[in-house]
């Protein structure tokens, strides 16, 4: 009896699973079959001399466009190509990228998230074309920014076309309504910043009579500490001493001051207690929910938070303001973003000869034209957007189906020399964000070692970084003291750090 019931249960479970499996598969195959149909429709009839180009780019949505999308087809027509796009979910992009690399079966155009060791070793093995010598032949690509090209290069050689982004995106997002409630000004110096956090924590900025707020919200993502220590004069990755030698940022004298400031914030409860374990996906929630008053993040998060607050409490019309940084002992300094978000590289396995290379390059060049930028970013006029009184009005906001026809195609854009797609009439806050990004370019601290590729770092970089970054967090929460910090630096040195310093200095001397 018992045995039979057991068996029945098991069978039931298996059956349920099988059912799930089958439904999952069938919806999949349905989708792919419609894809292939439309594919053959569009490509067979129209043009046979179109070059087929496979592209690997990230997607931020779960439903990226398929080649039945009219925008996709318009892009194909404009660039005279037959596009196949392999979408890699952004959340596990690095994995997908490395796995594609290791398979050896590369698409024509491959998105490269950064100068990771695996990319560099692939370059050394000749997996990608060196593009430097060809760029001058193309109207858009020839206008690429020299500084960003240098940043994205491997010891000066270009192996991918960077996707341009602002250099100065970092900033501080503040609850403006809280400042007003407490009669505070926007902070100008680090002391002001501290006083603001203190007031946000202790003086009931939301006026509900309860002690339920705190100053700064930080998540597991360690970017905010990097930005804030720059205010104290800590260099960006590498500093230069009086003799012209490079040294890593955590050996800078000012680092200790920055750390003690962070520790003070933590000890006094001005920062969320659980920051070291908080999921970065929930990072902005406390600001939206009125629990935290300040976030150090990219400036454009400001208007996203603002929109969410207004959605929840429509009477709170202007709850957010942004500033670029606060003044420290060495004046106003900020940490730059790298100026690009990944590169588009051309593989030698799929693109066999120079003639094909030139075709792929002219495809990439065309993607920088105004028409292509508008297609990929805004869609088709009349379908995805309209021009009313000279103003751009998007039609896809509330229509998921229309949005899915284009959402993500802008991952193919490089914005060289500049973004030409249409932007909506901006709100005051968005305009402020854009202005601050430009102002930031004057105060960002450059990394003198940005183009150098270190073998030691390629091999052990991740573990070496972890030693230092973990020690920083451990010091802030009081798990280790000063001697613990010194031990971490010693461990870093003995785990390859000394060789790394030597190697970078060597490369630096050669480059001078």
């Amino acid at each position: 009896m018992m045995k039979a019931s057991k068996l029945r249960l098991l069978l039931l479970a298996i059956f349920a699973f099988g059912l799930l499996f089958i439904t999952a598969c069938s919806s999949d195959s349905e989708e792919s079959s419609t894809n292939s149909n439309s594919n053959s429709d569009s490509s067979d009839e129209e043009n046979e001399d179109r070059m087929a180009i496979d592209v690997f780019v990230p997607t931020f949505t779960t439903e990226p466009p398929t080649d039945s999308s009219p925008v996709w087809q318009a892009l194909e027509d404009y660039t005279n190509t037959d596009l196949t796009i392999e979408w890699a979910p952004n959340s596990n992009l690095e994995d997908k990228f490395n796995i594609t690399l290791s398979s050896g079966d590369l698409p024509h155009v491959m998105y490269v998230p950064g100068k990771s060791p695996s990319f560099i070793s692939a370059v050394e093995d000749g997996a990608f074309w060196e593009l430097g010598p060809y760029l001058d032949d193309y109207p858009n690509l020839s206008q690429a920014n020299e500084i960003i090209l240098n940043n994205s290069s491997i010891n000066g050689k270009i192996f991918g076309i960077y996707r341009s982004r602002d250099l100065g995106r970092n900033g501080v997002i503040i609850r403006k309504d809280w400042l007003e409630n407490l009669g505070l000004e926007e902070p100008k110096t680090i002391d002001d910043f501290y006083n603001m956090l203190k007031a946000f924590t202790e003086e009931d900025p939301d006026g509900n009579g309860q002690d339920d707020t705190y100053g700064l919200v930080v998540s597991k993502y360690e970017g905010p500490w990097d930005v804030m220590q720059t205010w104290f004069g800590v260099p960006n990755k590498w500093g230069i001493d009086d003799d012209g030698n490079l040294y890593p940022w955590f050996l800078d004298d000012n680092y200790k001051d920055a750390l003690d400031f962070f520790k003070k914030l933590y000890d006094e409860g001005l920062v969320n207690e659980d920051f070291a374990v908080m999921d970065p996906a929930q990072w902005s929630d406390p600001v939206v929910a009125g629990e935290a008053g300040v976030q150090v993040n990219v400036l454009d998060e400001g208007h996203r938070i603002q929109e969410k607050i207004i959605d929840a409490e429509p009477e709170n019309e202007d709850p957010i303001t942004v500033i670029k940084a606060v003044e420290g002992p060495f004046g106003m300094k900020n940490l730059p973003t790298s100026g690009y978000s990944g590169m588009l590289s051309i593989s030698t396995t799929a693109v066999k000869d120079e003639e094909e290379l030139k075709k792929v390059l002219s495809f990439l060049d065309k993607m920088n034209d105004e028409e292509a930028q508008i297609l990929a970013e805004n869609g088709i006029e009349g379908r995805h957007f309209e021009i009313e009184d000279g103003e751009y009005v998007s039609l896809v906001k509330d229509d998921a189906g229309l949005l899915a026809e284009m959402d993500g195609l802008n991952q193919l854009l490089m914005y060289i020399p500049e973004p030409l797609s249409l932007t909506p009439d901006t709100s005051e806050l968005r305009q402020l964000e854009e202005d601050l990004k430009l102002e930031n370019e004057d105060i960002v601290v450059a990394n003198p070692a940005e183009p150098y590729i270190s073998d030691v770092y390629a091999k052990k970089g991740q573990q070496m970084d972890n030693i230092i970054l973990d020690a920083r967090i451990q010091y802030i929460v009081g798990q280790i003291d000063e001697s613990g910090l010194e031990e971490a630096v010693e461990l870093w040195r003995s785990s390859g750090g000394d060789d790394y310093i030597e190697e970078i200095n060597q490369l630096h001397k050669e480059a001078q």
Binding site: E273, V277, L469, L491
Partner: protein
């Protein structure tokens, strides 16, 4: 000539026997193909542990470096830390988690009301089907010091909070706790099946002999489970160093990394994020060798102690 003549009929009967059971052999075939294609064929991949592998030069074109990666690994200061963390977690798992399904199965077996029993069985299976991502999120919501239910309760009762999520001391208990919560119910399946096959007459005989519940449990139920327990234990030892990558990866952070770094996460960081394919394969191969040694050792030991064993 003679010997050939003698051999012939014997061979024939073997083939005849196979022919008679040809449907059985045919049914084995898919399984066999599965193992060859998906388990044996990829084993060639371990060769890259002895190479300086580069995907573009391929398996045949890459340089051979012998045991270089192993030497580097064993002389690396990380090695001892990884070994310690992995071993302690595995031991905790064996001591605290392994008996849990057995105990639960015995408890379930004592329930007399069949509807009640079946309902409980179904409920305890459910956590098994949740992904680790979800369990990590649930843990965060419950255990965080900023408004987590558990810490609110602790603060009310003891007046202080415990930082389960970031304290190195609490990392291992938390991991084992999660495993117990997720897998105990599912683990009872095999034991309950074994219990179902116990001859009811033995219980009746024991009752006649005046045995109480615990006597029956000790003298009838447990001996019936013994061989199942031993086999599962041996199989578990084969995966001794598998600590469950996803779970550890999700629960580790900068404050508990000193105890959370295990072989599985190390292979991921070094192999997938840094692209050191050969080196991480060497680490993985080392893990497998330890697994084989343990599984064979445990099997021998079980046989010595008079149990069936595996092979």
């Amino acid at each position: 000539m003679d010997s050939v003549v003698v051999k012939q009929p014997r061979k024939k009967s073997k083939w005849a026997k196979m022919g008679k059971e040809k449907w059985l052999y045919l049914m084995v075939l898919p399984g066999l193909i599965y193992f060859i294609v998906f388990k044996y064929f990829p084993m060639w991949g371990v060769l890259i542990a002895f190479q300086d592998y580069s995907p573009f030069r391929g398996l045949l074109g890459s340089n051979w470096v012998g045991f270089e990666h192993f030497q580097y690994f064993f002389s690396n200061p990380d090695f001892l830390r990884l070994l310690r963390n992995t071993f302690i977690l595995a031991l905790y798992d064996l001591v605290f988690f392994f008996p849990a399904p057995i105990i639960l199965a015995l408890l379930l077996n004592e329930i007399r009301i069949s509807f009640y029993k079946r309902a409980i069985q179904t409920f305890v299976y459910v956590p098994h089907f949740m992904s680790w991502v979800i369990i990590a999120s649930i843990s965060y919501v419950f255990l965080t010091t900023s408004g987590g239910v558990v810490n609110e309760l602790l603060e009310g009762l003891l007046g202080e909070k415990i930082n389960f999520l970031s304290s190195p001391d609490w990392f291992r208990p938390m991991i084992i706790g999660q495993i117990i919560w997720k897998e105990t119910g599912w683990g009872t399946v095999i034991f309950l099946a074994a219990l179902a096959s116990v001859d009811q007459e033995q219980y009746e005989a024991a009752i006649v002999d005046g045995a109480g519940r615990f006597r029956r449990l000790w003298h009838v139920t447990l001996p019936a489970l013994r061989s199942t327990i031993v086999i599962l234990l041996i199989l578990r030892l084969g995966n001794f160093l598998d600590t469950g990558f996803q779970q550890i990866y999700l629960m580790s952070n900068s404050l508990n990394r000193s105890v959370a770094d295990v072989f599985d996460t190390y292979v991921y960081f070094v192999g997938i994020t840094e692209g050191a394919f050969s080196y991480s394969t060497a680490v993985g191969l080392f893990k497998s060798v330890v697994g084989i040694v343990l599984i064979v050792g445990a099997d021998r030991l079980a046989k010595k102690l008079g149990q069936g064993g595996l092979f």
